[in-house]
């Protein structure tokens, strides 16, 4: 935060206009927007306040940026949580996100109309686009001069330099006749003065985006929305774990109980916004037995098919250096030979060594000298990965387990299994990316079957019987309860979710101001 700004504080007995639970992509833009329009706002964040220069590229220590309250992972594709998934701390998951910032494809808003599968969003790209452009403009996004799949689009900052993996993916695309470009990245490539924050430096190509940006180049909530919120009078409370939602006799929310330093506190509020993500938001509603007349809280859990393919080159690649995932192709958003609905984005992948080694270790059973040889190939390795549509399935959901956490609250159980569409997409991508690497001479090509991101569980839609919130994010059951995070996405879409989460957050803030 800007050290010259003195943060306003509220008494627990004050009835603030809004309490926002969560300070990441879902909570921060909305908090800033409400405050800018004169509303009194308190943001409760379970994690601490970090300082950017205190971040460390050491992957084990950098786990402090991840949500480490234990989750139980089940299904035939149990998902890995922790690393590069859910965040904690002022700024939320944007502290560790990869800053890869594609826009949602206009077709992904209408997947059911297009294919008869999946679910449509209750509006199209035209509705969200003004908010997308506001987000990109305010936080700072770099990209190419001309974007091949949308020539009208403009980015304010030129792209960072292409690292080894980005250059290799360009070669692979050229070999197979695919278009490619520098992808949109939420980082700045020249120094600026960020309103209400201060100096943000140009990206130094350090490659440790997932371990926290040390110089403010990466566009997070901590260096954009949250300082703005504070400047307009919002209070940020780190270290506050919200667990109980209090209501009056009519069922409306009156306040939130949270624990800070082992002590219970209560903040009264006129409106509550949940922005805790697609696991913690439904967990909070389920433990409190709220907003679930549809029976859909926790249902429709989705991820992204995030298959990776790695190869070794007879060159010094050094995959830790440079922005990790610069090259993109959107040519697979509706591939002609697809035996699945929806599509996927492909990005180049550099990676830090322990994360890379984890993927290698969990996707193979090599042992002995062969395992050592594989790890010793780190500096020769380059990767590509996808993010692709994942259809909602009844067996994929978040429920409460029988185990309690340190707060005495049930740990969440997340069931996740691929269906035929996800497997078909995985196989398509594994084949394509392997052929790209083969075409340019990569050796020891390795396919990693994995899913990423967390989406769904409190779906928005027009029908109160099958959705948790209306198309603006407001609970059908409790009129002063709103949800602003990726749990309201009706479908996964292919794009990384951060841009859509922030855009929806601004849109929900507008709706709250009009309500």
């Amino acid at each position: 935060m800007n050290s010259t700004t003195v943060m306003k504080t509220f008494a627990e007995t004050d009835i603030v206009d809004a309490v926002v639970v969560g300070s990441g992509a879902g909570g921060a833009p909305l908090a800033a927007e409400l405050a800018r329009n004169g509303k009194t706002v308190v943001v409760l964040e379970a994690g601490p306040a970090f300082t950017a220069m205190g971040h460390t590229p050491d992957e084990i220590a950098a786990r402090e940026l991840y949500w480490l309250h234990e989750r139980l992972s089940a299904g035939t594709n149990p998902q890995a949580f922790g690393g590069n998934n859910s965040g904690t701390g002022l700024g939320g998951s944007l502290l560790h996100y990869g800053a890869f910032m594609p826009r949602m494809d206009t077709r992904d808003f209408h997947l059911h109309t297009e294919t008869g599968k999946g679910v449509d969003w209750p509006f199209g790209l035209d509705e969200l686009l003004p908010y997308i452009e506001r987000v990109e403009s305010f936080i700072g996004v770099s990209g190419p001069k001309s974007y091949p799949w949308d020539p009208t689009r403009r980015y304010a900052y030129p792209p960072p330099p292409a690292n080894s993996a980005a250059l290799k993916m360009r070669e692979g695309c050229d070999a197979l006749g695919l278009r490619h470009a520098d992808g949109p990245a939420a980082l700045i490539t020249r120094e600026i003065e960020q309103p209400h924050f201060g100096t943000r430096h140009s990206c130094a190509n350090c490659g440790a985006c997932h371990q926290g940006c040390r110089n403010g180049a990466k566009s997070g909530a901590d260096n954009t929305w949250l300082p703005m919120a504070v400047a307009y009078g919002a209070e940020l409370r780190p270290g506050c774990f919200a667990h109980t939602i209090e209501r009056d006799s009519s069922g409306r929310v009156t306040g939130v109980v949270y624990r800070q330093d082992g002590i219970e506190h209560r903040q009264k509020c006129a409106t509550l916004v949940l922005a805790a993500g697609a696991v913690e938001t439904p967990r909070l509603l389920l433990t409190n037995g709220l907003a679930n007349s549809s029976g859909q809280v926790g249902q429709n859990y989705m991820t992204h098919v995030s298959t990776q393919v790695w190869g070794e080159f007879d060159e010094d690649i050094r995959p830790n250096r440079g922005y990790p995932s610069l090259t993109i192709t959107e040519d697979m958003m509706r591939p002609k030979d697809a035996d699945f609905v929806g599509g996927y984005l492909v990005q180049s992948l550099g990676m830090m060594p322990a994360t890379w080694g984890q993927n290698l270790a969990r996707s193979t059973t090599t042992r002995g000298p062969a395992f050592a040889r594989a790890l010793a190939g780190y500096n020769r390795s380059a990767g590509m990965g996808i993010n692709g549509e994942c259809l909602p399935r009844p067996e994929n959901r978040v429920t409460l387990s029988d185990e309690k956490d340190a707060f005495g609250i049930p740990k969440p159980l997340i069931e996740h299994s691929y269906g035929p569409n996800e497997w078909a997409m995985h196989n398509h991508a594994a084949n394509l990316l392997s052929r790209m690497w083969e075409a340019i001479g990569a050796k020891d090509i390795r396919v990693i079957d994995r899913a990423a991101h967390m989406i769904g569980t409190c779906r928005m839609g027009t029908d109160a019987g099958s959705n948790v919130v209306n198309p603006e994010g407001r609970s059908f059951d409790i009129d002063n309860l709103w949800i602003s995070d990726h749990s309201i996405f009706p479908s996964a879409a292919a794009a990384n979710p951060a841009l859509a989460i922030m855009s929806l957050s601004l849109r929900t803030a507008d709706a709250m101001l009009k309500a």
Binding site: A61, N205, F313, M352, P353
Partner: protein, 215 residues
Amino acid sequence: MSPPPDRPEILDSDHLSARTRDILTSRLSAPETQPCTLSLQAYAVLDALLPVLLPLEEILPPGTDINMTARIDAALSGPRDGWRFADLPPDAEAWEAALLTLDDVAAEQHGIRFIHLAPELRGSLLDAMMTGQLGLDRDGRLSIPQMARWAGDLRGEVVDCVMSDPRVQQALGISSSLTGGDTVFQGFAEVGPNSREDFEPKATAALAQMADSRE
């Protein structure tokens, strides 16, 4: 115990922050109390399986001991990674049960404890575990599918321990810790292939030298 290893040169780089230097330096010594999570029996099984799973003499200079057994045992009592497979018990309990399962199966199949098996036989048991062919359906032990799940956790923990060690980073020529110092945040000026900067380590391990030797 092997003699203390040379201090890796990367620890003296001005491209390293003080915090990162402290974190990496702390890994040069073994935890004081061993074991602190596992029973003596389970600890001994872990100690005997690690060289068969990942022989570090392939990477590190002779005589270098990164205290992997002790560090993993200590890590099991520290903050974990935020999730676990729903069909496994909590981490410390799962590790104890898995290691004792290996010991019991060694005794049943070969008549001697895991730690006394020849390396080839230890390796065969690990292969059977990783490919879903080893487990025990009894209290305090893990079943075949549980052992296959745990094998992924084991491999992941080992890789965390190895790739985050400054001696390994030095030996493999990895510059990932050298993102920038405290007064100057240097980052990397060169990010393309075959463009190692002077401050970045050059691999010393034979396995990792192919690219460097081309410079």
